[in-house]
């Protein structure tokens, strides 16, 4: 076996890990506080789209920030609906996904070519030259964020408050914690990370936007959250596993020998996700008040 193949595979895996890990860590923060957001897929798509627009207007860093801002805005809408208005979180999430599907397809048509929009090379985030080849600096971010989130959740007072709100909102309320505000902040932060992940895909990784750019990554991130049992460090591991199998699919397709039809190769990440998730659930414990709006008696 040729070593350059292995290095290639590892490099693509690291790139594929970034959006899944970032999105999953954001969702872990939100779920710890008790809100279950299945609109991640939509946030990724919209983040990628507006991130590309931002990058074209003001450079790659602006693009990433714009994507993050869009994610924050959607997270905010989601949390107002589900925390303050006691809405059904599943339905709100489905609404976000449908909206994003239409919004991005619509925006791409508006930009000219339906279904595809390339981010100009000068608007893309520069990659770092390393012995492994060109690596996006956001890989570093994705490697650091889970540790910060772990420290935040396990070692700070704010992390404990978050946990209290997710486990027992009544008790948290009695202790003088603003339950709804805490949930709003957590989900908005989660949205921001998902938005950043989306913008990363268009501005720093693929260099283009398509209406199927997210390709189920939002739901794979949800699977990663299940896999991690709300531990951000395991989300890093899970993100790498799922990223690896996505890359493996891409990599197999570039091999000169085409023994398996590409359609079956493309199924691989989704099948692996199913296998991994069905292997871990049962031993994972989620916050007691997850998905339940808090109503004061």
């Amino acid at each position: 076996m040729n070593w350059s193949y292995v290095v290639d595979l590892l490099r693509i895996s690291l790139h594929a890990m970034v959006p899944i890990t970032l999105t999953a860590v954001g969702e872990i923060i939100g779920e710890t506080a008790g809100l279950f957001n299945i609109g991640l897929e939509g946030i990724l798509l919209i983040g990628a789209f507006v991130g590309a627009l931002g990058a074209k207007a003001g450079g790659p860093v602006v693009g990433l920030l714009v994507g993050m801002g869009a994610g924050m805005a959607i997270g905010l809408v989601f949390s107002i609906i589900s925390a303050y208005w006691k809405g059904t979180q599943m339905i709100a999430g489905i609404g976000i996904n449908l909206f994003a599907l239409g919004f991005v397809a619509f925006g791409l048509i508006k930009l000219g070519a339906p279904g595809f929009h390339a981010v100009p090379a000068e608007a893309q985030l520069l990659k770092l030259r390393t012995p492994m080849g060109a690596l996006s600096p956001l890989i570093l971010v994705a490697l650091v964020v889970p540790f910060l989130a772990y420290w935040f959740l396990k070692r700070t007072r704010a992390g404990l408050i978050l946990k209290a709100v997710g486990e027992n909102p009544e008790a948290a309320d009695v202790a003088g914690i603003n339950v709804n505000l805490t949930r709003l902040l957590a989900t908005t932060f989660g949205g921001a990370l998902a938005g950043l992940a989306g913008a990363y895909m268009s501005v720093a990784w693929f260099g283009s936007v398509t209406k199927e750019l997210s390709a189920g990554r939002g739901f794979i991130a949800l699977a990663t959250v299940v896999f991690s049992g709300l531990n951000p460090l395991l989300a890093l591991v899970g993100g790498f596993i799922f990223g690896f199998f996505q890359s493996l699919a891409t990599w197999i397709k570039t091999l000169p020998t085409k023994t398996i039809p590409w359609q079956f190769v493309d199924m691989l990440p989704y099948i692996v996700t199913l296998l991994v998730v069905s292997g871990v659930v049962g031993r994972v414990r989620f916050p007691k008040a997850l998905g339940v709006p808090y109503k004061r008696e």
Partner: protein, 382 residues
């Protein structure tokens, strides 16, 4: 003012309020639709379109004449089925977002009837049966994963959607492919097609299958013991379990019935929607019918009869959107319709949407009162 002056008016207001409470769910759906259309209008305005002209074109394209109404109904038919998939599972306490994939599989199964000959009516029935069974079998994957391993159906159904998508891509490209035209499958023979109901339009007899299936679901869920168990398990699983209901059975049943519905959506599209009667590579005719169905289900309040009306509305949006995208000098792309759908679903997620308006009005009135109260105070102070 004395109380006697107020009473007759008060009684009248109470009567109106009581009637409104009865119509409450329907009103909320209408309100959500209005909110969604408004969001769409604002976005169109921001993007430099004329929302008024666009909606006018959409309305005329949807309900402007017999042909338009017929095509709106035709576009609504598959949505009735995919909406039922979602609703049945919601009634059983689950979020099955797998209608999309189950529908692909159903469509592929329906195309298989092209490989054998049968008398006209029987051929059609066999196709319907193929699609229904295929959809149900495909839905068992997520159902069994949930029952045996506790995998959330939200994750597993989406993964199954992607797997079925690539599976059907493969079938279209290599197995069911038309040897003469590589970009689509073999065509379903005339003997296995739904006859056209209104000549010159897309509307076929598939609409009767949709209405009949909705009624069937209604009867099963609300007028049989099994349906009672399914709804009881959905409302309060613990109480239902104490009452001796097997949650596993109700889950499996609702998933399977939902799968049948999704499979039929595939059949209704491939066998009942002219002109291709085949699956085109890239699945343009099928793509997103499953997701749009969820919007239909919510606006139809997860009730089989409500879904019929909601499907007509969304079918109208789709049919009208196809007219809108060619209307005027600056036509609005069809995708705007899905933006509106998403906004409608978001609005549907807000419980007591109607209450929000009195609440906002009350807040406004409160603000006005404080301002009014503060004014004299400042005058006194001055």
């Amino acid at each position: 003012m004395t109380t006697t002056d107020v009473r007759p008016r008060g009684r009248w207001v109470r009567g109106v309020r009581r009637t409104l409470t009865g119509l409450h769910p329907a009103l909320e759906s209408v309100l959500a639709a209005v909110v969604g259309l408004l969001v769409g209008a604002v976005l169109m305005y921001i993007w430099g379109y004329d929302p008024w002209r666009a909606y006018w074109a959409l309305l005329r394209g949807a309900f402007g004449g017999d042909y338009e109404i017929a095509s709106s109904i035709a576009r609504g038919v598959p949505l009735i089925f995919t909406a039922l998939t979602f609703s049945i599972c919601v009634r059983a306490g689950m979020f099955n977002i797998g209608a999309e994939g189950q529908m692909y599989i159903g469509a592929a199964a329906a195309v298989c009837v092209a490989y054998f000959q049968l008398p006209a009516g029987l051929h059609l029935l066999v196709g319907i049966l193929f699609a229904a069974v295929a959809g149900a079998v495909w839905s068992l994957g997520p159902a069994l994963l949930k029952l045996t391993r506790g995998v959330s159906e939200v994750i597993s159904t989406i993964m199954f959607n992607w797997i079925s998508r690539f599976l059907v891509f493969y079938l279209v490209a290599f197995v069911l492919v038309d040897p003469r035209q590589a970009q689509r499958t073999v065509r379903i023979p005339v003997s296995a097609r739904f006859p056209i109901l209104v000549q010159g339009t897309d509307l076929s007899y598939a609409v009767f299958m949709a209405v009949a299936f909705s009624l069937l679901v209604y009867v099963v869920l609300w007028h049989t013991a099994v349906g009672y168990e399914v709804r009881a398990a959905g409302l309060t699983p613990t109480a239902a379990r104490y009452g001796g209901i097997s949650i596993k059975r109700t889950m499996l049943l609702s998933f399977a019935l939902g799968g049948v519905a999704a499979g039929l959506a595939g059949a209704a599209t491939t066998m009942g929607l002219p002109p291709t009667y085949a699956i085109i590579s890239g699945l343009p005719e099928l793509m997103n019918l499953g997701f749009d169905g969820m919007a239909v289900a919510m606006v139809g309040r997860n009730h089989p009869i409500g879904i019929l009306f909601a499907a007509l509305f969304f079918g109208g949006l789709n049919a009208g959107g196809r007219v809108m995208q060619f209307y005027g000098s600056n036509p609005v792309p069809l995708e705007m319709v899905r933006v509106v759908m998403g906004a409608i679903v978001l609005a549907m997620a807000i419980p007591e949407l109607i209450r929000l308006f009195p609440a906002l009005a009350e807040a406004g009135r409160g603000l006005a009162r404080t301002i009014a109260r503060r004014k004299p105070a400042t005058e006194e102070g001055a």
